[in-house]
């Protein structure tokens, strides 16, 4: 299971990476916005995408839309971890096909719960 973590702040990428490692996901890679994330995704081998929303270059919501629009990537589960808390934003993310939405600041338990839920749903399919 290879996970791509996309956030413009390296501290946040590190936090998510460490939390994922605690949850048993050791194989992670990083990108600092949608523009750098897309080529990594297109190169293949990414099984799960964790992305921030507010990033310079390409925002997380546009990355999500790009992933869903790409035939080869469209089924990758996407977890959004973001400080964006407007209802309209959450609705748009849901409509764009996000699999989970975690608001910052978050707890280790919340991250685990959302990831577990995503994989439960995938396993059920």
């Amino acid at each position: 299971m290879k996970i791509l973590i996309v956030d413009d702040f390296s501290t946040m990428r590190r936090i998510i990476k460490n939390l994922l490692r605690d949850l048993g996901f050791n194989n992670t890679t990083e990108a600092d916005d949608g523009l750098t994330a897309l080529p990594i995704l297109q190169a293949g081998g990414i099984d799960f995408l964790v992305t921030d929303w507010n990033m310079p270059g390409m925002q997380g919501i546009d990355l999500l839309k790009a992933v869903r629009a790409d035939e080869k990537l469209s089924t990758i589960p996407v977890l959004m971890v973001t400080a964006e808390t407007k209802r309209e934003q959450i609705i748009v993310a849901a409509q764009a096909g996000v699999n989970g939405y975690v608001v910052k600041p978050f707890t280790a338990a919340t991250l685990k719960e959302k990831i577990d839920k995503i994989f439960e749903r995938i396993d059920a399919q």
């Binding site: 400080a83 808390t85 407007k86 939405y101």
Partner: protein, 244 residues
């Protein structure tokens, strides 16, 4: 202007002729023409001044963003910077708190390990009697689960300290917004100075469309805004209402 001059000149000449020939009706007529042309010039000047004033006012209107910045964005920035102070303070206290909790756990493990190590050494040197050995076994029995428990607690505390570092992302987003605002204020001030220096620049008013899902970073006064969720539970409720 030229036409006006010609009219005036013609009227003046006709006036002289009329005066010389004692033609009273013509004198009155030519005087009326002259007065009218002067009035129209006056009106023209007033009109020009009015237009200039209007343009100047409009140019100040162009700078209404500056007023908006002062009235809304500046107080908002104060709140944002206060948010940065509070968030960094909270994160520092949280981290320091976990350090305070963790250090005694590590010291306790170290002290007990040293004590057991010393006793174990005496046992290996056969310097220990049966009673002392029984005591040592008991100490080891208590110590091992304590190592496990303390290590788990230390791990949990370190995870919390790590999460607390998320403040850098949250405050970084807010500081970026403040930097953008400072740049905008600077631009507007430069334009204002240009206008004051009469180098009026007729920049079209930029009608920025409001994007409802534009990324805004952390919400500063989320509690006052019904459009914003306050915590993860509200996110979950909203998503489940959407059939998630």
């Amino acid at each position: 202007m030229e036409i006006n001059k010609t009219v005036q000149l013609e009227a003046a000449r006709a006036l002289v002729t009329a005066l010389e020939s004692d033609n009273e009706a013509s004198v009155e007529h030519q005087l009326a023409i002259l007065t009218q042309s002067q009035e129209s010039e006056l009106f023209h000047e007033v009109g020009k001044l009015t237009r200039e004033l209007h343009d100047a006012m409009n140019n100040f209107n162009l700078e209404s963003r500056l007023v908006d910045l002062t009235e809304n964005d500046m107080p908002n920035t104060r709140e944002r910077l206060n948010y940065v102070i509070t968030t960094t303070e909270d994160a520092a206290h949280k981290t320091l708190g976990y350090i305070d909790q963790t250090l005694p756990l590590a010291s306790e493990l170290k002290l007990t390990a040293e004590k057991i190590d010393e006793s174990w050494h005496r046992f290996r040197m056969r310097e220990m009697n049966a009673d002392e050995f029984r005591l040592l076994s008991k100490e080891i029995e208590v110590y091992l689960p304590e190592v496990k428990q303390h290590s788990e607690q230390i791990h949990a505390n370190l995870s919390e300290m790590m999460l607390a570092q998320g403040f850098q992302d949250l405050t970084g987003q807010v500081i970026r917004q403040v930097i953008d605002l400072v740049e905008e204020v600077e631009d507007n001030l430069v334009r204002l100075v240009k206008i004051a220096g009469k180098h009026i620049e007729n920049k079209p008013k930029d009608n920025k469309e409001v994007d409802p899902i534009k990324a805004e970073g952390p919400q500063i006064n989320a509690g006052d805004n019904p459009d914003v969720v306050n915590d993860q539970d509200e996110v979950d409720d909203l998503l489940s209402s959407l059939g998630f």
